[in-house]
Symmetry: C2
Subunit: 544 residues, 2 copies
């Protein structure tokens, strides 16, 4: 791949049969002629841009510093700018003309025409600069390729790497739509146990080292799907050292395992584990949660872009010396889900196949969205976008804090140190009913426990059923759904834990159920109300 | 399906194994709660719209009557409005606010959020009205579903209907990207011979009636891919009577063939042929071409929307009493390719599977594009959009006329009546070199021939090689590529015919090669120049 690669890895064997069969359009073969000065092109079926019924498009966009990046914001539960609704935001005016007067301007006639499957040149340049500065990939000839959002990107990655019947290594709790993309091609998840950082490396090694094709009924895993930051649903953040451990295992169970198993070169390559890094929440990393009473008022420190980027846990790209990572970024969480725009960062071999895959499905992302987002990003500039991301990260931290503060007011929270299982070594917040006139069992049953999320949009709540007198082992999923239904009937919808079980069955955890609660969307009053309802319903549930 | 269906057809057996395996996201199961007044939703990972950095988006759009729909335009080669570039077009201002003040306005906060896989309600309503008025489908419970352009739509349709190894009935010359979508799943095209209306029904019946699974090495065809209007590359227009013949065969080789073959119900259903109607050029239908000298100056007739719609060849939907048609419309040719927006019209059973397919790939089309296009369409209104389409159709007719007029000036054109093969019964224009000082063989070799296209964007040129002294039978593809290369070197790029051969090999036509020339994009001077170069190159090619 590059002179920086430490090992010569032949990645071509990772391409799935389906992806191998994809041909470029015959019109591609004409590309050697295109660009010849004065060449008249009557080959493609492109409408004249005069027939695009838009003279220009534009927007009033928010300023990059619309949300405070002042550190003091983090400490306060009240002084944040939560909603701009009602207030008049500071805006900048964007315009994308169909026929701009200078060649470097974003050009609507180009954005709305066929043939931009790799994206507008200005967007490509921005993404390249951004990836270089923020991710510092470990080899030099990595490349970017735009896609129409991570769900599209994931499906393309799976179709590029997985053959029917292959398995997919995932966290034991994961994003169901990712599995839904792989499942029609007959690919099942192999869940790997998690802890407070997400996927556990010792659990992964156990699976890879003890893999038995007969016993498992499937070939060795060749692909891993992981959400290392703001893990969905767990809310965990994976450090670079854990990533390094996992990466090394993905290499080890390629190269060295084959020394024992076979000397056949093809099999050797097929054993490598390719990492699909789905990282939509990367920029929503937060400081550790402290109870409001324990929170120090931070000194007023101003935004520093380099410092903010350096504070983020590095990605798999930083350690990917072999080009075995396909990273997926999306603008869904940093601009808007309706952008349907994101990008791969990966080696050029995979990128070429992913591009072919795109040509026969989504083609280029929408030209309206591409040009408005490109205009916004290039107007803000790299520094401006980093400033926007910093402001956004603090907003999510404030939201998380507010939700957890509200829970601490509604329940009696005891801190304890996890001694076993998923939360070993972590500070856990265990919730009990507060004593009051109507509650006879204050400080009685442990109702639920949480480890405050350190990134992303979700609080993962572990529900405790084992103190409920009627509980019998095996009732966990039933009770989870009963409680979910009571909660929904009372007016609050959360996501039941079983939705996120990688193989459709909850990982065994006696006496426990789970809810995933999003703190990304609701407003102040709504959160308070939801927590009050949650308190009433769960206390009542434990009394029945 | 509906009380209007003439036969009770069970279409469920048409769903491919892959499509059957697609599950809705578990979050869908929460939808029964959503919509409850006052329900607080903390289930989905939706960012708060305040974090979308756009306060509003907007556009200066062209007026619906920017292009003349006056019939007199058709006759003249010179008085048309070709390009608006340079002139100031008449525009209307569109704005889509993030937080509109009334609920019926297009809402950017909704357009940019997750959860609109079926599209903005205002767009759905527009498409429903449009399909009802323009297509009048033959059964009542048909439905629309938006997709991100016909390439996405086709891929979804193929994955919904085709199992690996299935074959696909197509015109013998067809759109290569459609085949590229089907080919990775191992589906090959079965070319059906064409004439001046596109696919021939007698050729189709021969294939279906004589199908021999052993001999063909594949199961009976269950799916047809067809471009009935503005056929790509042929430029042909299929009448409703031809469509009826083809439709009847698709029914016949479902229901009645099974009476002889098997009484097994499953097999019976699997034999039905489902029609995938790819119709991007539907609104670019033109009047028959006449030489400039023979063109009558039409009386000045004004636009009448109902008359314009009535003048268009009806679609397969009009005769689809059984719900066996998946029609694909796109805004790529009527708004802009970069819209990446179009829609299916089909039965609800297929629509549900196509929607699931979309959820794990593109999700909803881009919210920026959706909202701007919706705002444009609803501002123009149904009548305004029809007026826009009429103006556009006339533009393409004028472009076609101009290209053919230029060819008539460059070459000596002889009209003849086709007596055999593809062009039997049609008026053919045969081109010979004009005699002049430098040309010794004026009126010598027949250089090429055309049947003027009646819809779409393309002129399909048949090249004649059999009069070239060095020609040997079997040289057709070689000479086609030689001529193509000379043409490209001289500065004009066209698409060589073999690109469009449905099974990768040109249908046998002794002595003939083909070029596809797009008249959709170039401007006046460019066309003239291209035709002059074409003349020089092809005359020279015949002299060598």
């Amino acid at each position: 791949m590059s002179e920086k690669l430490t090992e010569a890895v032949d990645l071509s064997h990772h391409i799935s049969d389906l992806a191998k069969a994809r041909q470029p359009s015959p019109l591609k073969s004409l590309s050697k002629y295109v660009g010849t000065p004065g060449l008249i092109t009557l080959a493609g079926g492109m409408p004249h841009p005069d027939y695009f019924p838009f003279a220009d498009i534009g927007a009033n966009a928010l300023a990059h510093d619309s949300y405070s990046a002042d550190e003091v914001q983090r400490a306060s539960g009240f002084s944040w700018i939560w909603s701009l609704f009602g207030a008049k935001p500071k805006t900048i005016q964007l315009t994308v003309p169909k026929y701009p007067t200078t060649p470097d301007q974003v050009n609507l006639a180009v954005a709305l025409q066929y043939g931009q499957a790799i994206g507008l040149p200005q967007l490509q340049a921005f993404i390249k600069e951004f990836s270089t500065k923020v991710y510092s990939p470990a080899y030099s000839n990595w490349t970017n390729l735009i896609h129409t959002g991570n769900t599209d990107g994931l499906t393309r990655a799976f179709l590029t790497l997985l053959n029917p019947g292959d398995v997919l290594l995932t966290e034991e709790w994961t994003y169901p739509s990712a599995l839904a993309s792989a499942q029609p091609i007959g690919c099942k998840a192999v869940p790997v146990a998690m802890d407070g950082q997400g996927m556990k490396s010792d659990a992964l090694e156990k699976i890879l080292s003890e893999w038995d094709e007969q016993g498992r009924g499937a070939k060795r895993p060749r692909v891993m799907y992981t959400i290392p930051i703001g893990q969905n649903p767990g809310g965990t953040t994976m450090s670079i050292s854990r990533k390094q451990e996992i990466y090394d295992l993905c290499v080890k169970y390629g190269q060295s395992a084959t020394l024992f198993i076979t000397s056949n070169t093809e099999t050797q390559s097929e054993l490598d584990v390719i990492i699909v890094e789905d990282d939509p929440y990367y920029f929503l990393q937060m400081k550790e949660y402290k109870l409001q009473s324990e929170r120090a008022t931070a000194s007023s420190s101003k935004h520093d872009g380099a410092e903010f980027i350096a504070s983020l846990a590095p990605t798999y790209l930083k350690i990917d010396v072999q080009g075995r990572v396909i990273r997926l970024d999306t603008f869904s969480k940093t601009i808007a889900p309706g952008s349907r725009l994101g990008f791969f960062t990966c080696n050029p071999l995979f990128a070429e196949r992913l591009e072919r895959q795109g040509e026969t499905s989504t083609q280029a992302p929408c030209g309206f969205g591409q040009s408005l987002i490109t205009q916004l990003l290039t107007t803000w500039g790299y520094e401006g976008y980093v400033r926007w991301l910093h402001g956004l990260a603090i907003q999510y931290e404030i939201r998380r804090n507010y939700l957890l503060d509200s829970l601490s007011e509604e329940f009696h929270m005891r801190k304890s140190l996890g001694t076993k299982g998923v939360w070993e070594g972590l500070e856990i917040f265990e919730a009990y009913a507060k004593p009051d006139g109507s509650e006879k069992f204050g400080y009685g049953n442990k109702l639920f426990s949480i480890v405050p999320p350190t990134s992303g949009m979700f609080l993962w709540i572990k529900l405790h059923f084992d103190d409920i007198p009627r509980f019998q082992p095996g009732d966990e999923e039933t009770l989870e759904m009963q409680l979910f239904a009571k909660f929904a009937t009372a007016g609050v919808l959360v996501a039941p834990g079983w939705f996120f079980a990688a193989d459709g069955v909850n990982p065994p955890e006696p006496g426990a159920g789970h809810f995933r609660v999003a703190f990304s969307n609701a407003d102040l009053i709504t959160f308070k109300k939801a927590v009050t309802i949650f308190g009433e319903v769960i206390r009542d549930f434990h009394k029945q």
